[in-house]
Subunit: 213 residues, 2 copies
């Protein structure tokens, strides 16, 4: 329980002041500790969201002292921001030819259903929008990483509104997955689900058809 594990540090981290020897791995390695904290934070924030995670949980999973979280990262919110800016999987999904964007988004969605350890990102989004202290952080992330890149690929009017409709699907996936579990969605044919989602994203993003009234 309260025992401290000595082994299994991850990397030499050869930048401890004036370190010269190659394999020297000190028992006290700030860089490695920071990395363990960051990894634990990414893992836990992805699983439970901002409010669902305490700094003590992070410290425990990182096998580090509670005080180090704030000492190295300033505050819980700053650590959250650091985790967020480190994530950039969705960027590669959005980039590409505009015509294939709906299908790429759909495949990304399905991919998150299939593989168990999902990219922490989309799971962070839903449950973390509570406190005003992180709302701004989240807003910036979504704006820069999702909405604006999508808008850049859209032609025609109301590009922003269309991008927000697509974001609705993206952000709704988290709560649904978390509440209902993945088994129900996994039960269906993946190709079928992908086609459906592609159609949904297309409906959200496609240029407006001319309407007579």
């Amino acid at each position: 329980m309260g025992m401290r594990v000595e082994g299994e540090r991850t990397a030499p981290s050869a930048a401890h002041g004036t370190r010269r020897a190659a394999d020297r791995r000190p028992k006290r390695d700030r860089e490695a500790t920071e990395r363990r904290i960051l990894d634990a934070a990414r893992d836990l924030f992805g699983e439970h969201g901002y409010d669902g995670v305490t700094v003590r949980m992070i410290a425990a999973q990182a096998e580090a002292n509670v005080a180090l979280v704030n000492r190295y990262f300033g505050s819980k919110a700053a650590l959250f921001e650091e985790v967020l800016t480190g994530e950039s999987v969705i960027r590669g999904v959005i980039a590409g030819d505009p015509a294939g964007l709906p299908r790429r988004l759909a495949e990304h969605f399905v991919r998150q259903i299939d593989q168990r350890p999902t990219t922490a990102m989309s799971r962070i989004l839903d449950r973390s929008a509570g406190q005003p202290e992180v709302k701004e952080i989240l807003l910036h992330y979504l704006e820069d990483r999702i909405v604006q890149p999508i808008i850049a690929q859209l032609d025609g009017p109301d590009a922003r509104a269309r991008a927000l409709l697509a974001s609705t699907i993206i952000m709704g996936g988290g709560p649904v997955r978390r509440l209902f579990g993945l088994t129900d969605l996994r039960a269906a044919d993946p190709a079928e689900v992908t086609d459906r989602l592609t159609a949904m994203f297309t409906a959200a993003l496609a240029p407006p058809v001319r309407r007579e009234m």
Copy 2:
């Protein structure tokens, strides 16, 4: 600020033990107090979600004492459940002919964008799934009020998966609205947005087309 408002009670509440006179409105009216607490809870839970609301906030908005919240409703979670079971707007939206279901859902979505004091429900859903104590409450609500009614209207295989995809849109609306505000979505033509959402819901819910492989 700390002053107590005497007037503006809402109803006579003619069931206070052996009350006989019609218009007698006591300064101490448990029924009215319960109603004020319930209204405040519905309002605040809808605005900030379960975790974002404290019983002290509820008591303050209801102009009631903090202890009364637990005395009358048992606990914060129980009050939350009461609020949830009292909401049933979405039920009327889902009921009707199956062919028009996507459009009814879309119109419901747009309606929530347009009118400012939205039905508290959909705004409660997103931010409230944190603690296990409410997860089950939420799950039951969504299952009984949304997923199962939708499934009942669907033909063909994978009805549950299709209903969950539609739920994704429904549940994604909350976070998007809360984070990005409504102005961006309101800026677009409502009829256009409704058409888009109808297409999105249709793509999620329609019976599968036969696929050759």
